[in-house]
């Protein structure tokens, strides 16, 4: 292990702001992007399922109405 202490590690020889600003933004993007993408993918699936169910219901009701008439 290269570092003497944890505060040494955070300090980064005076470059802490720059190094952690870089790693922090990278981590933020690489956590947020998959989360948002997965959420969106699931939302698409739920919406399409809802739309399909509504369309099938409509079709069934139309068929029923025709039978009754």
């Amino acid at each position: 292990m290269y570092w003497n202490s944890f505060s040494d590690f955070l300090h980064m020889g005076g470059y802490g702001l720059y190094v952690w600003g870089s790693f922090g933004m990278t981590a933020l993007v690489m956590l947020l992007e998959p989360w948002l993408t997965l959420r969106r993918q699931r939302a698409i699936r739920r919406r399409l399922t809802r739309q399909l169910a509504a369309a099938l219901r409509e079709k069934a009701e139309a068929a029923n109405a025709e039978e009754a008439a």
């Binding site: 702001l17 190094v19 933004m25 990278t26 399409l48």
Partner: protein, 250 residues
């Protein structure tokens, strides 16, 4: 030939959708594995740089993000060419799925570059060839996304986007060779095929593993995104209808 027909089978969205779903966890696993090794080498093992002190450690995120920003664009251009040549449905979906991830890596490249430039050059930004051409890459990604979303018919959007992706790919060699062709503040390549790398072995390995982790990440997140695009675009097909009526799993 049989191998080709086998591969061709997965070019159909109906076959690719479940395959992509099965692949995603594996690519997350590889991301964690390579990222763990890369961060450990880069932050815990690699010694300080004799010129740049600890500030050089930005390299472990900067180089991977920059490589991916260029590589994803080349992959997009590849799918764009396939789509224009063979009129395959999946290629346009792949191009569309890759663009946001490419744009984000380009942003990360510029962001980490600015945070590296400030302490080393004394400026967040300079209008030099490397930085300017990378900024143009970000505009190309944003332009691609805006253009394809502005066109309602997906097949037409694919074709327009494909032309933009192919024209814009000329920018990639310009970014890559900019440090050679023009005198710039940006340092030369850390890794080249022609000569041995200009950096310590342990730093090089840390950088390579971090870049590899970003590569696996890009595949995982693009596969998730392309699954959403496939469902959306194929919603009128029988296979998607059957899938939607099944309980949420695959």
């Amino acid at each position: 030939m049989t191998q080709f027909t086998h591969l061709y089978k997965f070019a159909a969205p109906a076959a690719f959708y479940p395959l992509a779903g099965r692949l995603v966890p594996w690519f997350w696993g590889l991301t964690a594995l390579f990222g763990g090794i890369g961060l450990w080498l880069g932050l815990a093992v690699a010694p300080t740089d004799f010129q740049q002190g600890e500030g050089y450690r930005i390299i472990f995120v900067h180089v991977g993000a920059s490589w991916m920003s260029m590589f994803i664009y080349v992959v997009m251009a590849f799918w764009a060419a396939i789509g224009l040549a063979f009129n395959t449905r999946l290629s346009g979906m792949m191009t569309a799925a890759l663009a946001p991830t490419g744009a984000l890596f380009t942003f990360l490249s510029l962001w980490t570059g600015a945070l590296w430039g400030k302490p080393m050059w004394g400026a967040w930004w300079v209008w030099d060839a490397r930085l300017t051409s990378e900024l143009i890459l970000l505009f190309l990604y944003i332009g691609f996304i805006a253009l394809t979303r502005a066109i309602d018919d997906p097949r037409r959007a694919d074709r327009a986007g494909a032309v933009l992706a192919l024209v814009g790919v000329v920018n990639i060699p310009i970014i890559y060779f900019s440090v050679k062709w023009w005198s710039t503040l940006h340092q030369g390549a850390s890794v080249s095929l022609a000569k041995s790398p200009s950096m310590a072995t342990i730093m090089l390995w840390g950088m390579l593993f971090c870049a590899l982790a970003m590569w696996m990440y890009a595949i995982a997140v693009s596969l998730i995104r392309v699954r959403g695009i496939i469902l959306e675009r194929e919603r009128h097909t029988d296979w998607v209808k059957a899938l939607l009526l099944k309980p949420e799993k695959s």
